[in-house]
Amino acid sequence: MSSTLIAEQLLNGLQFGLMLFLIAAGLTLVFGILDILNVAHGSLYMAGAYVAAQTMQVTQSFVAAVVVAAVVTGLVGLVLELVLIRKLVIRDHLAQVLGTFAVILIANDVIKMIWGPAPMMMSMPPALSGPVQLTPDLMYPAYRLLIIAVGLAAALGLYLFVTRTRAGVLVRAGASNRQMATLMGVRVPLLFLGVFVLGAMLAALAGALLGPVTAIQTGMGEQILILVLVCIVIGGIGSMRGAFVGALLVGFVDTAGRAFLPSLLKLFFSPAVASSVGPTLAALSIYILMAVVLVFRPSGLFPARG
């Protein structure tokens, strides 16, 4: 096991974690501020990917694809908030989960009606389609470096937004005490609308960014949603910091599990056992991680809400 391999796997863990963070950020933001668990967040991610792919096919411009995806999905998020989310915010968590699950069912069929069941193609921007020489030994895909860069930028941007800008302060005010904020002149419903749309746009950004490296098909939202839920649960639902840490943890543990576990097991067990138990354990690793964290910290690592 060379040091180059280890370095590459570390980068991979970072990249996977940041990929998850992009999606987790929107979800945890909405939960933290609006107190609603929106499982249709995965569908917004899917919508972003589809719109980006379609735009890419028409314009051949990656930047256009990302922008159009964010705008269109933001609009979808706007409508969704006004029509449904508003009504679910005052309900219990079960109703929220079920209501947004219904949206998933509807969204999958609507997407299928528009684009058909076959996966969509989104080509990678040619400039980023090859590897970059990081060290004399290590070549790393340029596109994954982009994901890392965007992930870090988003994390920084969100942090600054929530702590330094006036809008961010208002958002936190609205979250911690709605009535007080309203009395002080903050238009809470408008604020919530804004946060939800922001969340939707973040999901779309993730979808557009991941489009070239993943399969764009119906059900893609649910696949990644499970992983994202694990991230925010580990980190603490509602906490941006928690989402960041949780996502990175999941990214590293999952990558390490897949990369090193089979080899590690071979040291102790026979190759036959290692090759059959290894992949299973690797697949279970993030769920085991989550269970362990919850045993010691039942509300996650950085609980924002009780």
Binding site: N12, Q15, Q217
Partner: protein, 388 residues
């Protein structure tokens, strides 16, 4: 609630009682939602094209084709098959894309003496110990594509290979099949998670291992993800990709595009296979479906309907005489788009397998090109376990 339900069920049945001579019924369980939705849609297009060409008839007699989506779910499929058998009284069955569904519904159909013609899955269980007269693996046996690919890799002298599949029985079967065809030890065997999205870890291992080629069995979205990421990591410059036909077929090409250029894949059919029936089929498919090139799923589905048609013709529409139907089906006496073939005693085909490579054609489109024959007349390895 239940009363209303029963009355409605009754009402839905009434039209079915009106026929004097009952039409021949084919039950098709489509895979239009769930993990194989894209492939199921291809199959459905193949079915519909054949049905259209036959004018909705089989062997010249009136026929009814019942198509319902079961979403790739074995439990739902069981439900559906029960309904097809008990309520609709089908005479033939086809449709599922996944082996798990085939294994789930097969025994029920065999017990009810209904011929099941497979438009895709060819599980080893049905080729060996559980072989049955009512099963017809019209397309191929699951291991065949992998063994053919193994032979290709061996013939081309790819050394130090890394082979990859998801960690489930079909994945393990695939790699075992490959190793049988390759006839030499492989460099590394890697198992990924079913439904895995990100392959960065495996790609790093690949880069470290420096194989001459990698063999992947990653059906559906998994393959799409992997190939995109493989090319993005620049690994396609030094490592060749070999895959079974279904990982490199037209549907995947449409989803991935350029990154697939240069991929070798093996199948029992290619759209540029040079026989009259195939030329006719491909042209008709393109005309019907907006100039789309058919994939192997569409071709197989088309063949199944044509096979049923030939059998009905041979028995002059007397499908109630099951032994006669089985005998007719067994002859495989129809113009298949892959060319003529025969069945082994386990009702799996003995047929050639071809090598295809993904290239840009004269019009600049990315598509498969037939480049060679891997096996002239290959029979699956499980036939010995079939005791009839």
């Amino acid at each position: 609630m239940r009363l209303i339900k029963q009355l409605l069920a009754l009402a839905a049945l009434v039209p079915g009682l009106a026929f004097a001579q009952a039409p021949i019924k084919v039950g098709i369980a489509n895979d239009l939602s769930g993990p194989f939705a894209a492939l199921g849609a291809e199959a459905r297009d193949g079915f519909n094209l054949a049905i259209k060409e036959l004018g909705g008839k089989l062997g010249g007699k009136p026929a009814e084709f019942l198509q319902t989506d079961m979403g790739g779910n074995p439990d739902q499929a069981r439900q559906l098959v029960n309904r097809y058998i008990q309520r609709d009284k089908i005479d033939f069955f086809t449709g599922p894309i996944g082996s798990n569904v085939a294994l789930a519904v097969g025994p029920t159909l065999f017990a009810a003496k209904i011929p099941y013609l497979s438009n895709n899955p060819g599980p080893s269980q049905f080729a060996g110990a559980q072989c049955n007269d009512y099963w017809f693996g019209v397309s191929y046996q699951n291991d065949a594509f992998h063994e053919a690919a193994g032979k290709v890799a061996a013939d081309r002298g790819f050394k130090n290979m890394v082979i990859m599949a998801p960690d489930y029985p079909a994945g393990k079967d695939a790699l075992n099949g490959f190793k049988r065809g390759y006839k030499a030890p492989v460099g590394q065997e890697v198992y990924t998670k079913l439904g895995q999205i990100d392959y960065a870890a495996e790609l790093a291992q690949l880069r470290d291992a420096k194989p001459e080629a990698v063999y992947i069995f990653l059906p559906g979205g998994m393959g799409i993800n992997f190939i995109k990421q493989f090319v993005s990591a620049g690994l396609n410059k030094s490592i060749k990709i070999v895959g079974p036909g279904f990982s490199g077929d037209e549907d995947v090409i449409r989803a991935v595009g350029e990154p697939m250029l240069g991929m070798f894949n093996t199948a029992q059919w290619a759209h540029d296979l040079d026989n009259a029936q195939n030329k006719k089929f491909v042209a008709a498919f393109r005309k019907e479906y907006n100039n789309r090139t058919p994939s192997v799923y569409a071709a197989q589905a088309y063949d199944v309907i044509m096979a049923i048609d030939a059998a009905v013709k041979a028995t002059k529409g007397n499908v109630a005489d099951r032994p006669a139907v089985l005998a007719a089906l067994k002859k495989a006496d129809f113009a298949s788009v892959r060319g003529p073939f025969t069945y082994g005693i386990n009702n799996f085909p003995i047929q050639p397998y071809y090598l295809r490579v993904i290239e840009k054609n004269a019009q600049g489109q990315i598509t498969n090109k037939l480049v060679g024959k891997v096996f002239d007349s290959y029979q699956d390895v499980y036939v010995g376990q079939c005791k009839k």
